[in-house]
């Protein structure tokens, strides 16, 4: 059992600005824990989490892999989230480097096919597109969930970039809900990008049917 990261340094005032870990966070932790041995065997050197929020997920990944075994990078558009991610790293003795950035933008040139573990628990809730646009602009707590049409506005952008970011043995974990069209996502990643996707974990939590999808490069035919 890998302990859930210590978040006792974060107060309710922090969670007015930053997404508080919830069922979608925990299903991602559970999927990573199930894959812990596989992930260690890959000897990841570069891990990147997009939309780190409280920093809970990367801190957890750091305790799976070991704090000095990999570089732990995170991005978030919410400055409070970057601060929380930083302190959560310190609290859990994982040196996390948060950057205030959208998706993987500043890394796209230099991390070409170099990310060993890529994580994204995106704003996946279907909303009006205006709502998603304004949440992105204000970079506040609404940006944690407002996902626009089909809840896919942001995820769609990242999906087009995953192939160029993943290292040859890289893994990409994505949190999604049923309304995001799980089959459609997997099919598209395979046909357009040669990335094989599968459901790592799924469960119902209240009104949400949550999924963790795991992608890797297709094994070359032998």
């Amino acid at each position: 059992m890998i302990p859930t990261p210590d978040l006792s340094h974060l107060k309710s005032a922090d969670f007015e600005h930053v997404y508080e870990p919830a069922e979608d966070t925990f299903i991602l932790l559970d999927a990573l824990e199930e894959d812990a041995n596989d992930l260690r065997d890959l000897q990841p050197r570069t891990c990147l989490e997009i939309g780190s929020g409280s920093g809970c997920v990367t801190a957890f990944l750091g305790s799976i892999l070991g704090s000095a075994s990999s570089l732990y990078l995170t991005t978030d558009i919410n400055p409070y989230a970057c601060k929380c991610t930083k302190t959560t790293g310190a609290q859990n003795k994982v040196p996390i480097e948060p950057l205030l950035a959208s998706l993987a933008s500043p890394f796209r040139r230099r991390l070409r096919r170099s990310v060993d573990i890529l994580l994204f628990n995106p704003p996946y809730v279907p909303t009006e597109s205006d709502e998603a646009d304004s949440a992105q602009q204000h970079a506040d707590i609404a940006g944690a969930w407002a996902g626009g049409r089909d809840g896919m506005v942001l995820t769609d952008i990242l999906l087009e970039q995953v192939e160029s970011l993943l290292s040859p043995t890289g893994r990409f974990y994505l949190v999604a809900v049923k309304q995001n069209d799980i089959k459609g996502i997997c099919q598209r990643m395979l046909e357009r990008h040669g990335l094989q996707g599968e459901v790592a974990l799924q469960r119902r939590a209240g009104r949400e049917h949550l999924f963790v999808l795991r992608f890797r490069r297709q094994q070359p035919a032998t």
């Binding site: 050197r45 400055p79 950035a101 040139r109 230099r110």
Partner: protein, 146 residues
């Protein structure tokens, strides 16, 4: 009044905690960042440090990590950035022999030099990416996004 005083204490306390715990654009990360402003596609790496305030902090040494990460480093950019921050311990050419002495130096330069404040400037379009409390602001305004 009381409330105001409290929130003031809180923010002072909070920022001092952050100053102790937080802060780190390390050179390993700097080596992976390029300017991504609209239309800025060549000579956009490495970003140049400006008014950098640095702190040195011990990090756990892991030779396997260093050996595994080295192929992802752009060597001249790393040497240049380290010199900009006053560290000239790395050789201009990346050595072929990764002996312990070299790995120790590499460890220090990549992982123990933290830039807390200052900025990173694009050598091409001169876009300024500020660093505050060790967190770099790589966001672009909407009209700057490519």
């Amino acid at each position: 009044m009381l409330l105001e005083a409290c929130s003031l204490c809180y923010s002072v306390l909070y920022s001092s905690i952050l100053a102790v715990l937080a802060g780190m654009v390390r050179l390993i990360t700097h080596n992976l960042l390029a300017c991504h402003a609209k239309g800025c596609t060549s000579n956009n790496f490495p970003l140049q440090f400006q008014d950098a305030a640095i702190e040195l902090r011990d990090a756990e040494f892991n030779a396997d990590f260093l050996r595994g990460f080295l192929p992802r480093i752009e060597w001249p950019a790393l040497v240049g950035a380290a010199r900009q921050l006053g560290d000239a311990s790395l050789p201009a050419e990346q050595p072929e022999m990764l002996d312990d002495e070299f790995l120790q130096k590499l460890h220090h330069v990549l992982l123990e030099i933290h830039v807390e404040e200052g900025a990173m400037v694009c050598p091409n379009c001169k876009h300024v990416y500020p660093i505050s409390n060790g967190i770099p602001n790589m966001l672009l305004a909407e009209h700057e996004i490519g």
